[in-house]
Point group: C2
Chain length 452, copies 2
């Protein structure tokens, strides 16, 4: 197995894990979401395992829809630490793992974000990453002076221009601009400082950025867009795509679609890595793995489970949980709920079984099985050009990550599919990605810059 | 000496220190402004000395006025790490010292800042502070889509509303809102979560904040306003005022003015601490201290020195540095420059001596002398109700701080004026300030909340 076939692996560490019942598991510190020690523990497990990145999702508000009544206070999706702040603290106590924070282009200013991620890249000595997202919920709009969310096309147009400005600001200083020459008194070479002077539809930003060129050239850019606009932003700017794919066929289509857009931006296929989310539930035997899954499913509070299907079925809290799923009555819901209702009928699902099926995975692919089962499917996806690696979505933390590290990683290593140690000191270096060339150096020296 | 007479001491750690020639001193790491190790070193010196706070000033852009030509690249005021990111990383490697980041109310959104400072307070276990400022320069406006800076009154009106929103968001959760009860499935008590629903002139923010009530109730608020509006914001919201006072008489007036405004906001004099900036240049003898000062003055690059008086005198780079100061020719400059010109005439200053006099201190009081001299003046200011302590402004880092810690602190301790060890684990606790009461608890239980 050659090195370039090896998987890249991240882990998504939001709050207490992704399974709706996970926080109630005996191995989870239920107060961990606001506790730095919890995240430090998770980070140390991931770095000891030589994973590529810690990934922090984010939202800019609490989605306060208490439906059915009493469900919200039973969910753990509410208080959490701000990602950049948290990852900067983790940077001080880790040395190799990449640190990716989600930050919205919808409710931020590019100067602020370019500065913060640039600072994080310096503080971590080249391990910062930015997951570039747009914000789609009204709950977030309400916290930033708006009565409703921004229209989809406007959000994506703004996101594209935001990325142009941020990458432009990261080219403000050439890498060797600073002389720090005490004898002559020259602090920097003025020819190596560049003012952006951006004036676009959404932003006017003069620059230059007050942060020196970063150890990675610029932070790693992660993107998760599934739409056409999202794929275009990814192809133009992203180093890593974190996708949500449930099956191999659609994952292959997505992989081909995004990689196929790279040449139009002067980029090669190897310059962007696609890492689908993967929820592993692993046991020494399949029965043990299934038992772990069953245990988690039983921990879903019924109101939280019903909240997860409220958007499609309305309030089912008046129906017996172990009775049949009623046909959706609200005509607005009917079309969206039809597929789920048919599934429930085919499988003979009760209401409880339906919300359990929905709660597991939260849009990402769940694999329940032995280490060999999980390694098989990962290897298969890479071989079939559906993935360059995976972003592991633990059901509950730290337990879901510990299980993956203890059981699956040795199997991947046995097959030569995952590293024994980090290859580089920077995140970009470990991902095997080239360092972006400063546009001003490229313009002076000729040649094509590696990215726009 | 009773404990409440003890001084509170912070240290301002921006970049490489405050003296215009400081970065060229042999003891200064000239590349330190972008190097986390430099700040960690400074933080550890300050925490070992039991200082109350690390204070980080900030600006949102490079003030690119290269006048006289060639001066800008000889100044060290350009690239620096973003304060919240830097302090969060330092939080992970310190345990007692307060961490104060400057953040602008002019170009930020209150939801973002309340969240970041709330997160920093959790990560540091109760050591976060926010220096609330407005942004006054065009260079900053240009980075945030504006053609010029916001008008003064608008900035301060926005700042006041910003503080109302931020403090409101920090009361979103009551301290005991989270139950994390795995058995019953209840994550939080919904009666203890409060939605702000703020709709004002500058901001509309629904809330609630997605960060639990912080270890200090809310982060310590620092303010540095000298104007009427600044004093009003301080009296209403600040826990600490960082003032710039050159002499005892004006410092006493300022102290009385700000403390006198507290009762109107239902606050007592002891609930707000006033810490003027102080630039100590200390030697075992006065001659040694003077020699240290002279050495720094000699390190000021002439162009950087001339840049410091450009605003008042225009471009003097064509004149002999050791010749007399010419009378200001530009009538626009004349009125502002008159005082400095008279000073230069009275003292017989050359151009070099004039810019040296201006460069030293940068608006803060400089004291050059023995440990006893410096302790005397500090004790005098506290006794005369001009200060509750000081924010130390080192000329150059880490040397200026090391000198202060090694020479002045033992003298202060000998006099019983400074602590031997921290009294508390939180910043607020070490400052001896009360924890703000949650407004919703106060409304339910009666009594007057400690702050608005």
């Amino acid at each position: 197995m050659t090195e370039q076939r090896q998987l890249k692996l991240g882990v998504s560490i939001r709050a207490l894990g992704y399974h709706a019942g996970g926080w109630r598991h005996p191995g989870v510190p239920a107060d961990g979401a606001m506790d730095f020690a919890h995240f430090l523990n998770v980070a140390r497990i991931a770095e000891a395992a030589k994973l590529d990145m810690l990934f922090l999702a984010d939202g800019l508000g609490i989605r306060q829809k208490d439906q059915p009544a009493g469900s919200l206070c039973r969910s753990n999706q509410n208080a959490e630490l701000e990602p950049i702040t948290l990852l900067s603290a983790l940077a001080a106590l880790t040395s190799r793992i990449g640190l990716v924070a989600t930050a919205s282009t919808t409710y931020n200013e590019p100067y602020h974000l370019a500065r913060k991620f640039g600072s994080l890249d310096h503080i971590s000595k080249g391990r910062a990453g930015w997951n570039l997202v747009t914000s789609w919920s009204d709950a977030e709009a309400f916290n930033f002076g708006r009565d409703h969310q921004m229209a989809y096309d406007d959000r994506y147009e703004r996101a594209m221009e935001f990325a142009e400005v941020a990458t432009g600001l990261w080219d403000s200083w050439e890498a060797d601009a600073f002389r720090h020459d005490k004898a002559s008194g020259v602090f920097y070479d003025p020819d190596k400082l560049h003012t952006l002077d951006h004036r676009g539809k959404h932003f006017a930003v003069r620059g230059p950025l007050s942060v020196a060129r970063t150890p990675q050239g610029r932070p790693v850019i992660v993107q998760a867009g599934a739409s056409e606009q999202g794929r275009d932003i990814a192809a133009r700017f992203a180093d890593v795509v974190f996708s949500a794919e449930q099956n191999l066929a659609s994952a292959r289509d997505y992989y081909a679609s995004v990689k196929g857009r790279l040449p139009a931006h002067g980029r090669r296929a190897g310059e962007l890595l696609i890492l689908p989310g993967l929820v592993p539930i692993v046991g020494a035997t399949r029965a043990e793995a299934q038992a772990k899954h069953d245990e988690l499913q039983e921990l879903i509070d019924p109101l939280v489970g019903l909240a997860g299907i409220y958007g499609n079925f309305g309030d089912l809290s008046g129906y017996p949980l172990d009775g049949p799923v009623p046909e959706p009555q609200d005509p607005k819901l009917r079309s969206r709920a039809a597929v789920m209702f048919r599934l429930a009928q085919e499988k003979g699902y009760s209401i409880r079984q339906l919300y359990q099926a929905v709660a597991s995975g939260r849009g990402h692919r769940t694999v329940i099985g032995t280490p060999a089962d999980i390694a098989d499917t990962m290897a298969d996806w890479v071989e079939q050009k559906a993935a360059d690696g995976f972003n592991i979505i633990p059901t509950h933390l730290p337990v879901g990550l510990e299980d993956f590290v203890r059981l699956v990683l040795p199997e991947l290593r046995r097959r030569g599919l995952f590293r024994d140690d980090y290859e580089a000191t920077t995140f970009r270096g470990n991902l095997g990605l080239p360092e972006p060339r400063n546009r001003h150096v490229a313009a002076r020296e000729g040649g094509v810059p590696l990215s726009a």
